[in-house]
């Protein structure tokens, strides 16, 4: 039971847990815990694997419609069998390993990447009773597993024995390290406000409605909205999505650190990217959008995992929309955005959240002052920093030999 969870403990909510307990009940006592964990792992792999498959199709269709073309529509109705066709293609391609490449590292890189990406799924609360592992410091665990994926990116670039792949791997690493900071700094105010590092605790702290209408989600506070935006931008960069997809763009250093990978290993890299996207979106839903809570009290009859799925899909569609709309950033623009814009904003956001927490007990009319000050603290630095970001830039002067 998650402490602080309000009413709504219906049979539909408990259905997955009851199913798991029934299946595990066929086994003797000592094996039950292991079998239960195995079932949860299989469920996560199945759900997010299918989500990955249809997300690739959705991305291609949405990108296509934005660009005024139909997208894949030949394989099955509306192209619904396209992911399976892609899977067959990837599996049957020849797996080329360069002769001078480091065979152990070349093989281990995609494996390590997928392993650490999947580890992050273990602590996200998917529903009222659906968190695979409930740790006291699960948010820290999530980011620890996420940073370990960067090692695999480097392994891929180095093991390929290709100067361009190595250069691209260093660039990818620089991007990933630069955006770790705003990612973590935008989460700290949420931890400060809710007082717990556990994901289920953060979701429980966002329960209830103000005046029975407005949910108490973090995103509906000034610092929460700013933190959410910073988190989403950093999540875009952390999962190498457009407009931060410099590491894997075809026009940049061939294919970046993935140049020497073909067939199933290439597919594994993309699976890891989509898994990272899904995991970061899941964490964004948990931390900022109220997790599995319904937005209105009268909509609580819909099960919690459905609400989680709706919010997750909304964020993923946002990712795809941004990809369709914005052009790619250069590496220096990217790093400048991280260090000179997002990090100071995230630090100011932390101060705003602290002010918000301390001014919570202010009486009636002073609450308006609280909102005004908080909005000023959010908007002011944003305007000043964005001016400073584009200030000293002048057109590049090229000198020819």
């Amino acid at each position: 039971m998650i402490p602080g969870a309000p009413t709504g403990d219906t049979l539909l909510e408990r259905a997955p847990v009851l199913l798991r307990d029934w299946l595990v009940g066929f086994l003797p006592g000592p094996a039950r815990w292991a079998a239960g964990s195995l079932l949860m792992i299989v469920a996560i792999l199945a759900v997010f694997g299918t989500l990955f498959a249809f997300l690739t199709l959705a991305e291609r269709k949405i990108l296509a419609r934005v660009q005024n073309r139909p997208g894949p529509n030949r394989t099955g109705w509306f192209g619904l069998l396209q992911p399976f066709a892609d899977g067959v293609k990837m599996l049957t391609k020849e797996d080329i390993v360069p002769r001078a490449a480091d065979p152990v590292l070349h093989f281990l890189a995609p494996v390590a990447l997928i392993a650490f990406s999947l580890l992050t799924f273990a602590v996200i609360p998917y529903g009222r009773h659906l968190v695979p592992v409930d740790l006291d410091s699960s948010i820290l665990y999530f980011f620890a597993a996420g940073t370990a994926t960067e090692l695999a990116v480097f392994m891929a670039g180095w093991a390929s024995h290709n100067k361009f792949a190595l250069l691209a791997a260093m660039r990818a690493l620089a991007q990933l390290i630069s955006y770790e900071l705003p990612l973590l700094l935008s989460v700290v105010p949420v931890v400060l406000a809710t007082g717990t590092l556990s994901a289920t605790g953060v979701v429980a702290a966002q329960s209830g409605w103000k005046w029975d209408l407005v949910p108490r989600w973090v995103v509906f506070t000034p610092w929460g909205a700013a933190g959410f935006v910073i988190f989403m931008i950093s999540a875009l960069a952390e999962s190498n999505r457009s407009p931060f997809d410099l590491p894997e763009a075809e026009s940049e250093l061939i294919a970046g650190h993935l140049t020497e990978y073909s067939g199933f290993k290439y597919a594994l890299f993309f699976m890891a990217e989509y898994f990272g996207m899904c995991a970061l979106s899941g964490m964004a839903v948990t931390l900022f959008l109220g997790g599995w809570h319904a937005p209105l009290p009268l909509l609580e009859f819909i099960p919690s995992y459905v609400w989680f799925a709706v919010k997750l899909l909304a964020l993923l569609l946002g990712f795809i929309w941004i990809r369709a709309t914005l052009p790619r950033l250069r590496i220096d623009q990217l790093t400048r955005l991280a260090w000179k814009f997002l990090v100071p904003l995230a630090l100011v956001n932390l101060a705003t959240a602290a002010f918000w927490s301390l001014s919570a007990p202010w009486p009636g009319p002073l609450q308006l002052l609280r909102w005004a000050v908080a909005l000023g603290l959010v908007a002011g630095p944003f305007l000043l920093l964005s001016r400073g970001l584009t200030a000293g830039l002048r057109p590049r002067v090229y000198r020819y030999a």
Partner: protein, 171 residues
Amino acid sequence: MNAVLILIALVTVGAAILAMSRRNLLHSVLLFAGSWAGVGAFFLWAGAEFAAFAQVLVYVGAISMVVLFAVLLTRRSREDLAPGPVSRSRAISAVLAGIAVAAVLLAAVAGTPLAVSAGPAPAVSVRQIGGELMGPHAAALLVVGVLLTVALLGAVVLAAGDRPENPEDAP
């Protein structure tokens, strides 16, 4: 429970020995990352979750990156990444020194009557850790913050050197 401990110990010490003896510098660094993850696993076994995740986050996630960048920035050719030992005698005497230190430490451990409090792992919540950090240990926390800032600024100054900036590099 001892079996899990012995497994973690074997993996960690094995990775450390391999890392120290490999000729390939990058393989060494990655094996070190493995042994740090092993230490993190030991922390998890002992029930110190917060310390385990902090260990993985800082060591495997950050320090290994810094070491990898340093490795790649301090080489001129691919051969520089295969450092050989100085001389056989130095390697042997270093191993003997290690064995001697290990022998002394193991004798001390085996000889001391160490009582074990038979209870489960102490349940320390993150809230408790935070409260103690900001309460009794607040001064140490501030000092560590200043230390980290100063150390990293110093590292940047040391590593950057004093090269004159190429005017073509300006944005």
